[in-house]
Amino acid sequence: MKIELEGLSKHISGTGDFITINKEKCNGCGLCVRICVVNLWGIRDGVAFIRDDYREKCLECGSCGQVCEPRAVNFSYPAGGTGVVYENG
């Protein structure tokens, strides 16, 4: 079963960067890739990267930061009043 995800979440712009990756610490395990519900992560040359448009797609669950064993991924929330909005949460 595949549900078209486009249009299923609403975002307020102006978040700034709220996810950072320390490439030195990343061991390329790929747990962030597996856990992200909206598939924002990938591995390139053995190191995790996040899609450039993550600010408009991220659901702010914070899983990427929590699963990261070497603490390479740092998740903090976007600026107040910006980012994902749940109208029927």
Partner: protein, 470 residues
């Protein structure tokens, strides 16, 4: 500098309850919400349990459909048992049983409403009581002086000062981190929960679902999923611990939505996907560290969701209220150290939430062993339950033969089932009934029990006797 008696970080049900209680007891109270309004950052199954209506009656009677148009309560929960072939092999429609003691628990299992309506409603109660609410503000750090927590700092560097800070800031809690109470969750203490919201034409919900308000999809191929019906739609979601996923969490949720039976339900209801949501949810055997000097953690930030099913709104409200009451006492006594705030732990332990956690590790372990055991224990659990509960109602053979077939089939699952049942349910029962079990250990009773077992075994028929007439 902005000075307050109490700072509450977070404007969810827990934060608002704390703010309301603090303001009512005369404290100069401020609470912060990172969304433009409370509730717009939150997604949850969102069923309000009857305990909330029992424990906060004056407040909850004010919750009306005018304020929360999505409100929908119902008496039935449908349990779908989905086997390894993704077929619904049995269903049980559950309702409050005869042992349920009070209203409204006899009349509904949950009152469902969207967080986008519920959270602003409860925040209004707090501001009406005199608490100041600041929205669209992210608190980014704890403010300290000589290592001592004295307030918080927002994203723009603005400082707020108070002798007590309450962390109501959810699963990724700045207050927990900044105060040293928790940096990260252990992997089997925190779950990730993806969830779809489906829109349904309002008239279809009652027409088709009747008094059903919840669905639970117990599966072999996915961690058990919950379905919650609102006035104009439903949520379908599931969760598991962060490291327990073999594939992307959405794969499993899509598998539920793709079930033939689920698709049939979607068609009947004329339901359409409206929103995709995801959140982390603490799921703890026990909330270990919930306070330190000048700081108390409530709700999700403290790890308070129920250890069996991880419902978190009621525990957030209970702990929020207790934390604010303790804060008021601590402030009036001029002692907000952890020695005084230990009172918070004592009181939540004595509350309904604490009672839940008395068998927290055992309840938590049951869930881990069964619904979260995708492609594990559910492989025998689902067919065993289906066989045992429904196998006899079948016309393929005379019922006398069917009963033997059912028993033989159930027996096949026992080598796998018994060790798990012993390991999970005996500790739970012995924890819950520990005082009573002490009495059972009376040698005389034990002796009677032991002598009864061989007698019972004797009753098992060795040979099938034929019965013809009288």
């Amino acid at each position: 500098m902005n000075n307050y008696d109490i700072i509450i970080v977070g404007g969810g049900p827990g934060g608002s309850m704390a703010a309301k209680t603090a303001a009512e007891s005369g404290l100069k109270t401020i609470f912060f919400e990172r969304g433009r309004k409370p509730g717009e950052k939150n997604s949850s199954g969102c069923g309000l349990g009857p305990r909330m209506f029992r424990d906060f009656p004056d407040m909850m009677k004010e919750l009306t459909p005018e304020k929360c148009p999505s409100m929908r309560a119902g008496v039935y929960a449908r349990n779908y048992f989905v086997n390894k072939d993704d077929i619904v092999s049995a269903m049980i429609l559950a309702r409050p049983t005869e042992s349920v003691t009070y209203e409204p628990a006899k009349s509904f299992i949950t009152m469902n409403c969207y967080r986008s309506e519920f959270d602003p409603w409860i925040a209004d109660l707090a501001t009406n009581a005199g608490a100041e609410l600041k929205c669209s503000i992210l608190i980014t750090n704890i403010l300290k002086e000589n290592g001592k927590v004295i307030g918080v700092i927002d994203e723009k560097g603005e400082k707020y000062q108070a002798p007590i800070v309450i962390g109501a800031d959810g699963v990724i809690s700045t207050v927990a981190k900044g105060s040293g109470l928790r940096d990260k969750w252990f992997h089997d203490h925190c779950t990730i929960v993806p969830q779809y919201d489906f829109v349904v034409p309002r008239e279809n919900i009652d027409k088709i679902m009747g008094e059903e308000t919840l669905g639970v999809w117990w599966g072999v191929n996915f961690p058990s999923a919950y379905q919650v019906f609102f006035g104009d739609g439903f949520h379908i979601g599931l969760g598991n611990w962060l490291h327990s996923w073999k594939k992307n969490p959405l794969y499993y949720l899509n598998r539920v939505v793709g079930l033939k039976h689920f698709q049939h339900l979607i068609k009947m209801l004329d339901a359409k996907p409206r929103e995709l949501q995801a959140h982390l949810l603490p799921w703890m055997p026990y909330p270990e560290k919930t306070y330190t000097d000048h700081v108390m953690l409530i709700g999700d930030a403290g790890g308070f969701p129920c250890p069996l099913e991880a419902e978190g709104i009621y525990p957030a409200m209970v702990t929020g209220k207790i934390a604010a009451e303790v804060a008021a006492e601590a402030i009036s006594e001029g002692d907000t150290s952890k020695t005084k705030l230990k009172e918070y732990e004592k009181r939540w332990q004595a509350s309904s939430v604490g009672r839940e956690f008395e068998a927290g590790p055992e309840l938590w372990s049951v869930w881990k062993a069964l619904p979260f055991s995708t492609e594990g224990n559910m492989e025998w659990f689902i067919p065993m339950v289906s066989e045992a509960l429904t196998g006899i109602f079948d016309w393929s053979e005379p019922h006398t033969i069917r009963l033997r077939q059912v028993l033989a089939q159930v027996k096949k699952y026992l080598p796998k089932a018994l060790p798990v049942l012993m390991q999970e349910f005996i500790p739970l029962l012995s924890k819950v009934l520990e005082d009573d079990l002490d009495k059972l250990m009376d040698p005389k009773i034990l002796q009677n029990l032991m002598s009864a077992i061989p007698a019972l075994l004797q009753l098992m028929p060795k040979k099938k006797k034929k019965r013809r007439g009288r």
